[in-house]
Symmetry: C2
Subunit: 292 residues, 2 copies
Amino acid sequence: MPDPVLVRSVADLRAVVHVWRREGLRVALVPTMGALHEGHLSLVRLARMHGERVVASLFVNPKQFSAHEDLDRYPRDEAGDAAKLGQAGCDLLFAPPASEIYPPGFATAVTVSGVSDDLEGAMRPHFFGGVATVVTKLLLQCLPDAAVFGEKDYQQLLMIRRLVRDLDIPVAVVAGPTVREGDGLAMSSRNAYLSANERSAATQMNVILKRAVADLEYGGDIAAIERDATMALDEAGFNPIDYVAVRDAGDLSVLGPRVDRPARILAAAWLGKTRLIDNFSVLPRAVAGNDA
Amino acid sequence: MPDPVLVRSVADLRAVVHVWRREGLRVALVPTMGALHEGHLSLVRLARMHGERVVASLFVNPKQFSAHEDLDRYPRDEAGDAAKLGQAGCDLLFAPPASEIYPPGFATAVTVSGVSDDLEGAMRPHFFGGVATVVTKLLLQCLPDAAVFGEKDYQQLLMIRRLVRDLDIPVAVVAGPTVREGDGLAMSSRNAYLSANERSAATQMNVILKRAVADLEYGGDIAAIERDATMALDEAGFNPIDYVAVRDAGDLSVLGPRVDRPARILAAAWLGKTRLIDNFSVLPRAVAGNDA
């Protein structure tokens, strides 16, 4: 398949989408920061199921990086990304310069409290404000029928669901499941940073979390399992471990002492200079336990 | 003319607007807090020049009132408002309950820095955050081609221009000039609070500001004129005087020592328990003065 059409301005993006709309075609958007891997491409294929036309955005959003974070070394390969997007069925690539997204005088921020306060929000204070603002902009620039986000960034997904509902943005938010390497490591653009040794240790994150899921679904104590998983990550070489947390699947509120409703286990930890995150669904036991 | 069609839910609002859109009709929105006077109705008539169909919203937004402010005594007369709107050519009245705008779990805020930090922003800390959030919601609920706001709330108008641009909301912001009583008092729903004595003093605000405009346009010193106008308001019985300020007309940045570009004089002051605001355009002298 050919590369997608490339546009760099909001005006050009809207012009193309406007023509599609007049033809009665539904449009689905996949926002990305580039450095695309199979996880992103699965979102593009999912988007095709929600729209006859698929737009991908490629924008490494400076507002969601802190000064000490990896904005400058974040991997960039626009030509390679465009080729992969074309193969996956993307029709239009919106790759704006920063000046198109944040022109001089830009002064507006979108913030979401509650679901984004804790976990990633606590570790990366600028992160969710930056994500909420740029996602709002991308959704309003494109005004798609559907927008697809990966479950890999689970807290971000919940925050986006919240802000779309709260601001009445007329778009359906679609979640795409996490795509994994053969050994279960969640695909991430940041995996490219890992040394060979780190890469081999990295797989332990999903192994440890899946073991925790089994223990939780068997009715285990949440606090004990969080503690055990943290120790196991430590033994596997992760340092520091930002968090291992079992939370309500819908709003990330704290649960306890056992999982009694749909939940999610989420973790973030470092291998050398690379920060990895992952998460899994945890379902309550179908049959009530005998806790007497 | 008949009363406008009344809807109370976003879904019903969108259903009506959707039909109009399919008919190729342009839609203009006039957000209000009700208690309508000739100033609002002039905005409705202006809206008709920007759309074949006009929607007015009536929502007394709790998020833009502080605990000590006049939310509870803010005047309400929906039936009277609907009749006036029909006379002015409004087709649809969107009058949602608070639960439709802020359902349980609502957690998102839109904030605009810079233009909204000072003046009203300094005096009423919750005000502009509340306005920015609800205006974003109303614009995205209705998705009109144009939205009309009064120059009476000049700083609010500038903030809305900024947020519409920054969030890429696809709407044209149209400004409507302030409508005045025979003696020049700017029309306001809050004028209904004034006693007979206060009402007769109130006219001095526009008289004093217009004198200041003349002095500024003659090349007078901004700081001296702000001081003189403040003293004149004090003598007329205003107490306290929140501010009298001469600022850049586009971004409200501080000017000085004289007006050398399009500017605005803005004032806020109290008569008894009623807070009045007003503002006027100040244009730089067409011919450069001889400041030697």
